[in-house]
């Protein structure tokens, strides 16, 4: 029962891409339209500036080329991603707006995402 309500709610609001498991696979393809994947590289203890436009539904793939772990943490607390050393992590953008982020471990590392509303 609860599960049905959950699915119905997801279907009604348009399913964000990161919804996982059965609920995700159960949805019709029209709702499953994937956003773009934009890569942001971390190297030399810095987030490399990216120029690509971002839209709600897009995925940011954080690529950490450093030998130490980093986080990408939104200042507005919307999200926090841990990116281990020499590894990748992803974040699906759910809300539009300009979000400044930083690394919790090395707060001198900062960056900004400008996320546009999804066109219907």
């Amino acid at each position: 029962m609860l599960r049905r309500t959950f699915l119905a709610t997801l279907a009604a609001v348009g399913l964000p891409r990161q919804a996982s498991g059965a609920a995700w696979r159960a949805l019709p393809k029209s709702l499953a339209k994937a956003g773009a994947t934009v890569q942001i590289t971390i190297t030399g203890i810095a987030f490399v500036e990216h120029k690509q436009p971002l839209t709600v539904g897009d995925t940011v793939e954080w690529i950490n080329k450093d030998v130490v772990a980093h986080t990408a943490t939104a200042r507005n607390k919307d999200w926090r991603v841990l990116i281990p050393e020499n590894a990748k992590a992803t974040l699906v953008l759910k809300k539009p707006g300009t979000v400044e982020f930083y690394c919790e471990y090395h707060p001198n590392m900062t960056g900004k995402l400008v996320i546009r509303e999804k066109k219907s």
């Binding site: 030998v67 471990y105 090395h106």
Partner: protein, 173 residues
């Protein structure tokens, strides 16, 4: 405590010149030794904090110091092996080690919140001192491009540590 901090600062600021021969800048083998020692001493300080502190923020910070400095020192060792450089002990390294031993003994007498505060204050001061030495002496003096690049990345990393320590100091107060 201020005394001890200024001792460490003095070691890095001044002894780099007299210790390393009249006016001569430190050599790459000496720079490699100083940088590696500075990292190792911070790992040792973090291990002391992990043995003594019960504060979650302090422990998380100390764990990060062990992780980060070990990773950088592994990189440093790989580089000196590749370049066939033998790190050379020198007065600056010895001075740092001596100051760290004195600080460790001092911190050992403290416990609870007073230990946490003293450890974090020293982390801020220590990183500040090492960063100053990297910026003004070690990076400009290094001749090998790869060593210089590693030190430059190290400087950015340690500036991050300093800033992180400052944030935790403000939080634990």
């Amino acid at each position: 405590m201020l005394n001890r901090l200024s001792t460490a600062a003095a070691i890095l600021t001044f002894s780099v010149s007299p210790a390393l021969a009249q006016g001569a800048k430190p050599t790459d083998p000496q720079i490699a030794h100083i940088a590696y020692t500075a990292g190792q001493l911070d790992i040792d300080a973090a291990k002391q904090a992990l043995a003594k502190s019960k504060n979650a923020d302090v422990r998380a910070f100390a764990e990060q110091m062990v992780r980060d400095h070990e990773a950088v020192n592994t990189q440093a060792l790989d580089l000196v092996n590749k370049l066939n450089v033998k790190p050379e002990d020198n007065d600056t390294s010895r001075g740092l080690t001596k100051a760290a031993a004195a600080k460790k003994a001092e911190l050992d007498k403290l416990s609870g919140a007073s230990f946490d505060k003293a450890y974090l204050d020293n982390e801020v001061a220590y990183h500040k001192t090492v960063n100053g030495a990297l910026e003004t002496t070690l990076i400009p003096s290094s001749s090998n491009a790869e060593l210089k690049a590693l030190l430059q990345t190290g400087l950015k990393l340690f500036r991050g540590h300093q800033m992180h320590a400052e944030q935790i100091v403000a939080k634990v107060k």
